[in-house]
């Protein structure tokens, strides 16, 4: 089959070019993309690759000749007939994706459409929902009309699980206002505005049934992201000590007995005293109350201790934050811990009370666990875990006796400091717990 190669426009809008040199002769066999000709345009000197594989049957001009774009430059006899030119591709056709180890499968979420669909399906009706369903459409214009509402109102509607298109707006030009959304979301007004139902896979107690699939969202998603951030960026090391709690338990009894208000005395727990002592030890070892700032190449030591208290709630792990812990008295700290953990369990904390900690303490002992390796609350530098206090056999002055002990575990960012610093912190805390009167020297 004979094919001509017309002089291409190798620039943008060029009209002609001069053949500087032929790189092949008539009769030569050439391969696809083999350089055949050097041309010069007003813009550049350019080598032309052969568009075909086959035999060169004719060169249509000599060196130095100038041709107009579109004139035949050379001809080929093709070694194998080219397949018929591909038919025009219809957008939306199934295409064969490039076979590289990345990229999405056919049903990649394409943003607005997928989002509209998700929003529709989130309402919980099992029917097939098209992207357009639920969106009012003004047929005279041909454009699907979105309900009028300001972005914060849309956000509110989304949070409350209210479908805006089902709300009639009381604002100017039918704008949907906050009040409209709130009214639509109120319990007396169920229906399409009902809140997002929990994952249907969950059983009555919120535990998934065997074989079910649970959507990762909300607190679970946040915890997952935090853990991945921590474990994928922080090279952590862990150290631990066993601590004798006998003196601290005696102190707890004494303090409780001296407090008249039972509401106050009930907040004095071994954990709240440990927190107070940990704050003292942390204040003396500020490097553990820092963050590693990778882009800046800096370790930022925080000016105060904003203490995160890892708290187990029905929704999952939450970390309420006790601000400026180094400035609180033991009673204030104990009261705050009690308030924060209770509020976290009841879901009554403001977003601000759940972010921005600089150091976190996990009381995994409250779950009855003796030992564990806590994961650092990214981007902090360290985390302290407190195990369960139990009577255990220990050796005192060469004798085996039963003592109330617990294990303290500290995971730390090894970029920020070494075992020596983490160990100093942990040993100091151990000493303070075993001989709480030493704390007097530090207050």
């Amino acid at each position: 089959m004979r094919r001509d190669f017309a002089l291409p426009d190798v620039g943008e809008g060029l009209e002609e070019a001069t053949v500087v040199d032929w790189l092949v002769a008539e009769g030569d066999e050439v391969t696809l993309n083999q350089p055949v000709c050097l041309i010069e345009t007003a813009k550049a000197e350019v080598e032309l690759p052969s568009p075909y594989a086959g035999q060169v049957t004719a060169l249509m001009c000599s060196r130095g000749d100038t041709l107009r774009v579109g004139e035949t430059l050379m001809s080929f006899e093709l070694s194998e007939p080219r397949a018929a030119t591909a038919a025009p591709v219809e957008a939306g056709d199934e295409r064969q994706p490039l076979l590289v180890g990345y990229g999405v499968e056919k049903d990649a979420p394409a943003a607005p459409r997928a989002r509209a669909w998700r929003r529709a399906s989130a309402r919980g009706d099992g029917d097939a929902v098209t992207p357009e369903a639920g969106i009012r459409s003004d047929s005279s214009e041909g454009f699907p009309a979105r309900p009028l509402a300001a972005p914060p109102v849309r956000r509110l509607a989304k949070d409350l699980g209210v479908d805006l298109s089902s709300v009639s707006g009381s604002g100017p030009d039918g704008h949907v206002l906050r009040e409209d959304v709130r009214a639509a979301a109120s319990p007396s007004n169920p229906g399409p505005g009902a809140p997002y139902p929990g994952p249907s896979a969950a059983g009555p107690a919120g535990t998934p049934r065997p074989g079910s699939v649970v959507e990762v969202r909300g607190t679970r998603l946040k915890v997952a992201q935090k853990m991945v951030a921590s474990r994928s960026t922080i090279p952590e090391a862990t150290c631990a000590v066993w601590v004798d709690f006998s003196s601290l338990l005696a102190l707890q009894d004494a303090v409780r007995a001296s407090l008249e208000d039972p509401a106050v005395s009930s907040t004095i727990t071994p954990f709240s005293i440990v927190v107070r002592l940990a704050v003292l030890a942390l204040w003396a070892n500020p490097i553990l109350n820092s963050s590693y700032d990778e882009p800046a190449g800096l370790i930022r030591v925080h000016p105060g201790i904003d203490l995160g208290i890892a708290t187990n709630t029905a929704k999952g792990l939450l970390v309420p934050v006790l601000r400026q812990a180094q400035e609180r008295t033991t009673l204030e700290l104990a009261g705050e811990i009690s308030r924060l953990t209770q509020a976290a369990r009841e879901g009554g904390l403001a977003p601000d009370e759940l972010r921005g900690s600089t150091f976190t303490i996990s009381n995994f002992g409250s779950l009855g666990l003796d030992d564990g390796i806590p994961v650092i609350n990214y981007p902090e530098a360290a985390i302290l875990g407190v195990g369960a206090i139990r009577e255990r056999p220990v050796v005192v002055d060469g004798l085996l006796v039963a003592r109330s002990t617990a294990k303290l575990v500290c995971s730390f960012d090894h970029r920020v400091c070494d075992g020596a610093e983490a160990g100093r912190f942990l040993r100091m805390l151990q000493q303070l717990i075993e001989e709480p009167e030493r704390a007097l020297f530090r207050v």
Binding site: V10, K43, A44, P88, R95, A108, G142, P295, G356
Partner: protein, 364 residues
């Protein structure tokens, strides 16, 4: 997180590098240990395929099949390193030189080829892979990315917008507005500046008085980081950090990937008129693919079999492009009415019937 927020706006002091030009790990580098062997193989394969496909685009232009093509030769590491760190539902807002990003996302090269051929159905196949259209005007897509990110923030959707711009685009007003707005609203948007040193024939020194584009981030109050754009692992590491920052609601990042455009600005440009062979030679020695391959071969991750497979995949992609694009006829003119709006209005229907009448087609 008041304390760390203030810490988010440091001036990038140095250029982050993981691999030296000879492929050895730089002492003290933040090596991305989380990557599996398969990840590494996937990245080098994508870079290899990008280079092969890029060459085929240039060939097709030289054969009169494409109106124009801007080669990404030499910038494979920046594009593959950045894009491979994203999730498939993070949206990319490309300029026009991001073939490597498209290869990572698995975009069909045919749609890109039709776009450069000037076909009515050019640029299809991008949206499905969460890629915005190829943008010819400089930097106008940066505000689009910020808008998308702002919308995602309002909606509470876990996605990040990534916009690719060049050193030249940093002089554009659109880009300034986008950077400022992204910082003010703390949106999940990442600005990737591929500093390839030349805006057509304008060198960086004539573009800006600073030598470090990442330092501009400080003026917007956002994190700025500079990495070796020919070091795919460095690009991956800085992008991983930036994505994490965005997903945690800690705001946008300006990444400057220092790289070099080894080819012409586009097929209509002759770079020998404004830059020296010596400069090109310097950057040839920093070739991103050679560097990464040396590293992976030394690490025992990349074998002759991988090389062969990557070459085959590149050839297959090039053939797919050629088969689709070469001498391809224009699609039916009436099809333009099918792909712009989701439904036809009365006016569009009227225009469609008129075009059908004028071109002697059946309007049904």
């Amino acid at each position: 997180m008041a304390i760390t927020d203030r810490a988010e706006a440091p001036v990038a002091a140095s250029t982050l590098q993981v691999l030296a030009p000879d492929g050895a790990v730089v002492p003290g580098a933040r090596y991305p240990f989380e990557l599996s062997d398969a990840d590494h193989v996937g990245m080098l394969t994508a870079m290899t395929v990008t280079r092969r496909l890029d060459g085929e685009f240039v060939n097709l232009q030289r054969q009169g099949q494409l109106a124009l093509y801007p080669s990404c030769l030499g910038q494979e590491a920046a594009q593959v390193g950045i894009t491979s760190a994203t999730r498939d539902n993070d949206w990319l807002f490309p300029q026009y030189r991001e073939l490597g990003a498209f290869v990572v996302r698995g975009v069909d090269p045919a749609g890109i080829g039709h776009m450069w051929r000037g076909m009515a159905h050019g640029g299809t196949g991008l949206i499905e892979k969460c890629c915005a259209p190829i943008t010819i005007p400089i930097g106008t897509h940066a505000p689009h990315a910020v808008g998308y990110a702002l919308g995602a923030k309002f909606d509470g959707v876990d996605t990040v917008a990534v916009t690719f711009i060049g050193d030249g685009a940093t002089s554009e007003g659109d880009v300034h507005e986008a950077l400022n707005m992204a910082a003010v609203f703390q949106v999940p948007c990442i600005f990737v500046v591929q500093n390839n040193h030349w805006a057509i024939s304008v060198p960086l020194s004539a573009q800006t008085r600073v030598t470090d584009i990442a330092s501009k981030a400080a003026g917007y109050g956002m994190a700025g980081v500079r990495c070796d754009g020919n070091d795919v692992l460095a690009c991956r590491v800085v992008m991983r950090d930036a994505l994490l920052r965005a997903r945690e609601g800690r705001g946008p990042t300006l990444i400057e990937a220092v790289t070099y455009r080894m080819g012409a600005h586009t097929t209509a440009d002759d770079p020998t008129r404004y830059r020296s062979e010596g400069e090109l030679e310097l950057w040839r020695r920093r070739d991103p693919i050679d560097r990464y391959r040396s590293h992976l071969v030394a690490a025992g991750i990349w074998t002759a079999q991988h090389e062969e497979r990557a070459t085959e995949t590149g050839e297959r992609a090039a053939k797919r492009l050629r088969d689709e694009v070469f001498d391809a006829p224009m699609p039916d003119p009436l099809s333009v009415f099918d792909h712009v709006l989701s439904r036809r209005s009365g006016e569009l229907e009227r225009q469609r019937r008129q075009l059908a009448r004028e071109t002697g087609r059946d309007a049904t």
